[in-house]
């Protein structure tokens, strides 16, 4: 029942084997469906790695470093941060021109050197408890409002892509390369007892919001939407400064064999077909970045699912952030975490 890590020695014996990495749970449905159909049609073996971005990316990196020509996977779904990290270590293969469907990606999210392609976007805003807020919070800085002392939470380092540090830094005169202003604000808040604690799982966030231990936190629309759908007294709002864009998409992995790259590119093209993108977004509460992918009605109506929201979103320079992430972690640990 178990394959070996995606081999480079394809072609020699029968059909090509390729390994695709996708995220788990509902995010697995569409990639596997498309992958199975593709395998069937093209006489290709497709194996899947289901996992999280955080765990799989390091595995991929180390596999390549052990053997440049034998990457753990050939085609993978990653977030913007990993896109940038991979670029830094030449992990990605440019997407060939034959993958025409990526031309329909929103121009703001087109990648110049075609190393990968963003497919969908999750939007980070504020998740809040409707019981505690008569009117929804309006600003990112509400996280630091002393009215909510002890009832705020966010993610611990090094998950800076999701814990709002880069956003707060940028809003306060800092940048991806200078997170200090953000760290200072978090540090002050920590000392004042602003935080109920830091969360380590999405589940904990939901629990705490529902129980009233926490009333506000930075969070993803794609995370909040299923909770809202399930009837929790939870709201998601785009702060007046704008949502934070969190694009996700696919990469072809360098070191894969010619045949694997060729087949992966074909599969990639399938995945970017508008109907597949739409289904992916509908299932996971995400904003499609591909033109022609139509959201289902319930979502399409929501303000935060509009492309306008995307276009006005706070864009993070992932490459710069990634360069600073290690130092930022050190600073975060020392100044924020040590004080909470």
């Amino acid at each position: 029942a178990c394959g070996s890590p995606g081999g480079s020695s394809s072609g020699a014996s029968g059909s090509t084997k390729l390994t695709m990495f996708h995220w788990a749970g509902a995010q697995a449905t569409v990639p596997e469906k498309v992958g199975d159909a593709f395998a069937e049609a093209n006489n290709v073996d497709v194996a899947y790695i289901e996992g999280t971005n955080a765990d799989t990316f390091p595995k991929l990196v180390s596999s390549v470093q052990i053997n440049k020509n034998s990457p753990l996977l050939n085609l993978g779904f990653f977030n913007g941060q990993s896109f940038a990290q991979g670029n830094a270590s030449d992990l990605w293969e440019p997407v060939p021109a034959s993958v025409t469907n990526i031309d329909a990606v929103n121009s703001k999210y087109q990648i110049a050197d075609r190393r990968g392609a963003f497919m969908v976007m999750d939007a980070m805003g504020l998740i809040y408890s409707k019981k505690a807020f008569k009117t929804p919070p309006t600003s990112w800085m509400d996280l630091f409002d002393s009215a909510y002392r002890g009832k705020v939470t966010t993610w611990d380092a090094p998950a800076f892509s999701v814990n709002a540090l880069p956003v707060i830094a940028k809003l306060n005169g800092g940048s991806e390369s200078d997170l200090r202003p953000g760290i200072d604000i978090f540090s002050k808040a920590a000392k004042a007892g602003q935080f109920h604690g830091f969360i380590a799982s999405i589940d904990a966030l939901r629990q705490q919001l529902n129980s009233g231990e926490v009333v506000i936190a930075p969070g993803f629309q794609g995370v909040a939407q299923p909770w809202i759908d399930a009837g929790d007294d939870i709201g998601f709002v785009a702060p007046k400064e704008g949502l934070m864009a969190f694009p996700e998409g696919f990469q072809l992995v360098a070191g894969s064999s010619e045949a694997q790259l060729e087949e992966s590119a074909k599969l990639l093209n399938e995945l970017f077909a508008p109907e597949n993108v739409a289904e992916y977004c509908n299932l996971n509460g995400l904003i499609p970045l591909v033109e022609g992918a139509e959201l289902k009605a319930e979502l399409a109506d929501k303000e935060t699912f509009q492309l306008a929201a995307v276009e006005s979103a706070i864009q993070i320079d992932w490459a710069t952030l990634v360069e600073n992430i290690e130092d930022a972690t050190t600073a975060w640990n020392k100044d924020v975490k040590a004080n909470i």
Binding site: P58, S89, A157, I199, Q207, S211, I340
Partner: protein, 284 residues
């Protein structure tokens, strides 16, 4: 003319072929553990985040890590947590093992054993979820144990909960091998229940106690999920920082920290062994 003349039981003397039985286990440790540790050490002395087996030696990671006060505070938390949890666990487990051993009805003892066992039937994530529900503000124990959750006491509570079986069972195994006549003789010589415990039972169960301490301690200081889920960011142990660094691809640093953790563990384990030898008066 004269052979080796160690004291001790004959079975323990001279080139006993049974000593070779330790070999398969040692071979495995060499293949698995030593390889892992060697890999760690090799990672720890490089700067490149490459995972080729050999790279030029560079000690900068070591020197920065050793001078990092935050790392040492994490080490402190880790060791403190390890010691507190092992002590509390053993203090609960020891009388518990005795109660189980002396239960008159076999089924009651079996049921109690199952109860003790049950935490490890539930995955750590789900277990932590249970604690969150119980301890959160507004939960059934939220008021009594105000602010335990997302603080050290909550983490300790949850760790003791899951390490309990790892302490009860070694103690129980060693209790079961003590003949009744030793406690009887002690009682006959005027020892009260407390004295019998302190002077006879405790030393005779020292091997089990040692196993319990060692198991619980090592499990606790390498525990990652429980402090992460219940510590609320306030309780940072070395395992978490290591995990962070792996995710950051800061492998040399992660390796340095893992080696530090391992060395500290070996030191504490031998301390435990020494202390237990004191209690046990060097039995066996």
């Amino acid at each position: 003319m004269t052979g080796p003349t160690e004291p001790g039981n004959t079975v323990k003397r001279r080139r006993n072929p049974a000593a070779l039985l330790v070999l398969p286990g040692v071979v495995y440790l060499v293949i698995a553990f030593v390889a892992v540790v060697a890999l760690l050490i090799s990672y720890s002395v490089r700067v490149e985040r490459t995972s080729v087996l050999f790279a030029p030696v560079d000690l900068t990671t070591w020197s920065t890590a050793l001078g990092d006060s935050y790392l040492w505070s994490t080490v402190g938390t880790t060791l403190r947590l390890g010691l507190i949890v092992s002590l509390i666990t053993v203090v609960i487990a020891y009388p518990l093992a005795w109660c189980v051993q002396t239960m008159k009805r076999g089924w009651a003892a079996a049921a109690m054993l199952f109860v003790v066992f049950s935490p490890i039937l539930v995955s750590v994530v789900v277990r932590s979820y249970g604690w969150q529900l119980l301890l959160r503000t507004g939960g059934p124990f939220g008021d009594t144990f105000d602010s335990w959750l997302y603080h050290e006491p909550g983490v300790i509570l949850a760790l003791v909960h899951v390490e309990l079986p790892f302490a009860v069972f070694p103690i129980l195994s060693s209790i079961r091998t003590i003949p009744a006549e030793y406690t009887e003789a002690a009682a006959d010589l005027g020892a009260s229940a407390a004295q019998r415990f302190r002077k006879v039972l405790l030393p005779l169960t020292a091997p089990g106690l040692l196993s319990a301490l060692q198991l619980v301690f090592t499990l606790t200081i390498s525990a990652f999920a429980t402090p992460a889920l219940l510590g609320g960011g306030r309780v940072t142990v070395l395992a978490q920082t290591i995990y962070q660094n792996i995710q950051l691809l800061a492998w040399p640093l992660a390796a340095v920290q893992a080696v530090i953790l391992l060395v500290l563990t070996l030191i504490v384990l031998s301390l435990f062994a020494a202390v237990t030898r004191l209690i046990g008066g060097g039995v066996r």
